[in-house]
Amino acid sequence: MIYLWAFIVGGGICLIGQLMFDVAKLTPAHTMATLVVAGAIVDGIGWYDPLIKFAGAGATVPITSFGNALVHGAITELNRDGWIGIITGIFDITSAGISAAIIFSFLAALAVRPKG
């Protein structure tokens, strides 16, 4: 059942992105930035966690979860270490995604010759 909801919620977020491309005529970069900020705000209100419980990867795979994870890290360390946690905690959870993307992309650039 969680697969169905992952499909519907994840597809729905992508559909919103497509509407921002086609209807609002935003560039991909503007769309992604807007979605990340939206994810951060939704988590700030406290609605992203219920969405993850409900839709699983449908909520964690789209880029909105990046904003959610940034806020999560900041708030967790804010509660634990006080005000400095906002700065130190932001990349706490997203480290996996960013580090993996940097490392794999760099290795790919070393190993692969671009086509064309």
Binding site: D22, V61, I63, G73, W83, G97, F104
Partner: protein, 179 residues
């Protein structure tokens, strides 16, 4: 994907041409006002039905999320992780898959068909970094790969971090004990 969404570029090009023709009389054949040019450009735009684009984005985006769900189930049941702990390795595996597909040239083909469906998931984030790294490889490792990797992904990180900072600030000021 850039090709499919280059409408903005066309618009800017149009205004530049129009002002040149108004200023110098050098381009006499281009006797259109910017408005006329925009209408002209609209007729020449390849027509992609918005509905078809949305269906494609929904299908591919949903499929990528199903793959993500399957990978996280492997971590939960195969490696006995909690659901939250399984999130990070799941994202890392998806990024690895995306980088491999980008190197093979497959991801760009999917992206052309799927539009936002392949751009919005975290795999699109990795694709933008990897393709920038590959594209600028010829300029060297430091100035090419290092300097250009975040060309597209950078805006996501910058706006994400700034937004998260302000949300954290609101929590701090109002003393909310969240999460």
């Amino acid at each position: 994907m850039d090709d499919a969404y280059s409408f903005k570029d066309h618009q800017e090009e149009g205004t530049i041409i129009a002002t040149k023709s108004a200023g110098q009389n050098k381009y006499k054949k281009m006797s259109m006002s910017p408005k006329e040019y925009q209408n002209f450009a609209k007729t020449r735009e390849p027509s992609r039905s918005i509905l078809a684009n949305c269906v494609r984005a929904f299908l591919i985006g949903g499929l990528i999320c199903i793959v993500g769900q399957a990978i996280s189930e492997v971590f939960v049941y195969g490696f006995h992780m909690s659901r939250t702990a399984a999130g990070s390795p799941t994202v890392a595996v998806l990024i690895l898959i995306s980088v491999i597909l980008t190197c093979l040239g497959v991801y760009d083909k999917i992206a052309q068909w799927a539009g936002a469906g392949s751009a919005v998931p975290v795999t699109g984030f990795a694709n933008s970094m990897c393709s920038a790294a590959l594209e600028h490889r010829a300029e060297g490792l430091v100035l090419g790969v290092g300097a250009n990797m975040f060309k597209l992904a950078g805006s996501v990180i910058v706006f994400g971090v700034v937004a998260a900072f302000f949300v954290g600030l609101v929590y701090l000021i109002f003393g909310i004990e969240g999460h």
